[in-house]
Symmetry: C2
Subunit: 419 residues, 2 copies
Amino acid sequence: MTKNKRVVIAGMGFGGIRAARVLAGRGLDVVLVDRNNYHLFQPLLYQVATAGLEQESIAHSVRAMARSWSGTRFHLAEVAGVNFISHEIQTDNGLLPYDYLVIGAGSVTNFFGLESVKRHAFDLKELADAEILRNHILTAFERAVIEPDPARKRALMTFVIVGGGPTGVEFAGALIELVHFVLAKDYPDLNTGAARVVLVEATDKLLASMPEKLRTYTLKKLRSMSVEVLLNARVVDAGPERVVLHDGTVIPAHTLFWSAGVKAAALSDVLDAPHKAGGRIPVEPDLTLPGHPDVYVIGDMAYLEQDGAALPMIAPVAMQMGIYSGRAILSKERGTTLPPFCYHDKGSMATIGRNAAVASAFGMDFRGYLAWLVWLLLHLYYLIGFRNRIVVMLNWVWYYWFHERQVRLITKREGQSHE
Amino acid sequence: MTKNKRVVIAGMGFGGIRAARVLAGRGLDVVLVDRNNYHLFQPLLYQVATAGLEQESIAHSVRAMARSWSGTRFHLAEVAGVNFISHEIQTDNGLLPYDYLVIGAGSVTNFFGLESVKRHAFDLKELADAEILRNHILTAFERAVIEPDPARKRALMTFVIVGGGPTGVEFAGALIELVHFVLAKDYPDLNTGAARVVLVEATDKLLASMPEKLRTYTLKKLRSMSVEVLLNARVVDAGPERVVLHDGTVIPAHTLFWSAGVKAAALSDVLDAPHKAGGRIPVEPDLTLPGHPDVYVIGDMAYLEQDGAALPMIAPVAMQMGIYSGRAILSKERGTTLPPFCYHDKGSMATIGRNAAVASAFGMDFRGYLAWLVWLLLHLYYLIGFRNRIVVMLNWVWYYWFHERQVRLITKREGQSHE
């Protein structure tokens, strides 16, 4: 009996779990590797950070998924490197040999070398980030209510969000609604109307990938919700209580949130391959690493141009790459070859607030209530775990009916370590 | 216009929130103080620790509660001491003057001076404790699956629980069910049948306050679920991978859980009052601190004898004391006096596992399915927050139907700090 060939999938993000689904039950030994024991639904992190969802509801155990994927095993480990000669990956839990390797370690926040920003800004990439940011926001209001100095009180209630992409827009909208609908009632002694949410975008547009009509709607809608949108503005420096813009403007703000860029995960540095901007690794049209036809790089780490532009670092690209890499491996095992990877852009969307979203799909543009409904349904659909879907839907219904976000818990006091 | 008298309630546990409810809307200025911004439903911590519930579902924002309690305000602060002369409490967020003070700071785990146990044991008093313990249990299985040494593998799957009270019994039952029903399917490569749950009790009985018939049922039921129950046994020493009993027996175990005792919270040390065993403070029959008729001590911190025995440190006592203290203050304001506090024992209960609980109430004993149903309903009833009730019920139904506990996430790797 010949031993089954082994596929190692490094990273259980949007791409990795789809590759696993394709490869399961096809006579291969599939090893799933991640440093967390769960798949994280990153697009909803901002709702955890704004007290709308339990953190557990947007994560799903990899072992729970693997139960229905026959021939797969999970290995909890952080991948440190790849030995392409011996066909092994190095992890903090030992070596794992592979016949095929699928690498989808995702991305981390890119602060573009701004050290003071990196030190003082919050970001949303990991589950813990969302809890830390929620604790910070709620603690800021607790401090504001007892702060005697009016200027410091206002700074505690001022939130600067950098980056006008979907994350920045969604976070800004969710945050201002948290303040106006929920915290205003929680803090009757506090003038929450003085709270500021400032969205800073370096270019002249929000949601750059959207059609102009939707971009205009987004800008108007955010401003009508009293988000201060600053276009053509850049943050150049930050301290614990202030944010400095390119023109010298100082915004006294206790909270800086950074969603102005991502770069490939650190793993890309240790792969012996040339890098593009943001540490992304150029791949062949079949997503393999040049010179290594048994190694696939997918998702945010992969750099691939299509129609003259690099594919964006977004979940739909990762999902399609994950499926493709799985199918490509199955094809090779059958001795056939797939046509090159081709990304099908099904559209993009962002939610701004209650009953307000923008969506561009099927060659059509939606905005307002309908786009918002489509956004809700698609996010529920892509969320992994049936129970998670119910809990998330429950929270959304609750918020819709009662204007209540129940998870406004400060689970750790700032400066307090966890152990 | 005379200023309203101010009642400060220190501690938003079972007693504190009930005192607040009684005092709200009665023309008093009521200040609610807690170091957390939520009320914690401690009796379900063990279900968070065994991956059955989200941590957020057993906590509820004090500000959310205070919205419907008119005349109340919340003050997030840790109480450091009381100045009985100037009628002020000292907090890490400044001084708070009071006319009446209700102290219900609860209890902490009592390790009875066993330093090695204190260092290595887990306990369940705070919300973070439950998440830490869940992470530890799940990490132990992740380590067991890759551990080559059979003895260490078994130690990683061995859990020693100290204390045969309700917490110990409930945790033991929930843990062995987690292993047999859930983790057995998550870890097909691991012989989870070799996992050990050892319940160590110093006396000759479990659930000492229960009638003998129910104690016997509990013992039999736990043993039928393959929990190893050691009676008349004490833990005297512990290390990271072993637990030592009074007779020298060494149990190789990676996890030690301590629920063998509680003592009054540290605040009791700074109150200038004599202490009883466990740091509890003797109170007058009207729950006031001797010599301080405007200071009430309630819940686990209060020492009061009734029918020749000290009242137990349990939630129902705290709840009744909270209500009493509120009513006593209202009476004083009206110039009347309440009869002394009298605890009405409505019974006690503990759940052992699926369809199995014991309850002693209304002079009757229940066990098995009926007691289990009553346990579920009463816990849902006492849980604060309607949405929490729905989420908890959803999890219970899920577990009942599918034998699934979905929150088996390792949200922090061990040794990893949170910031």
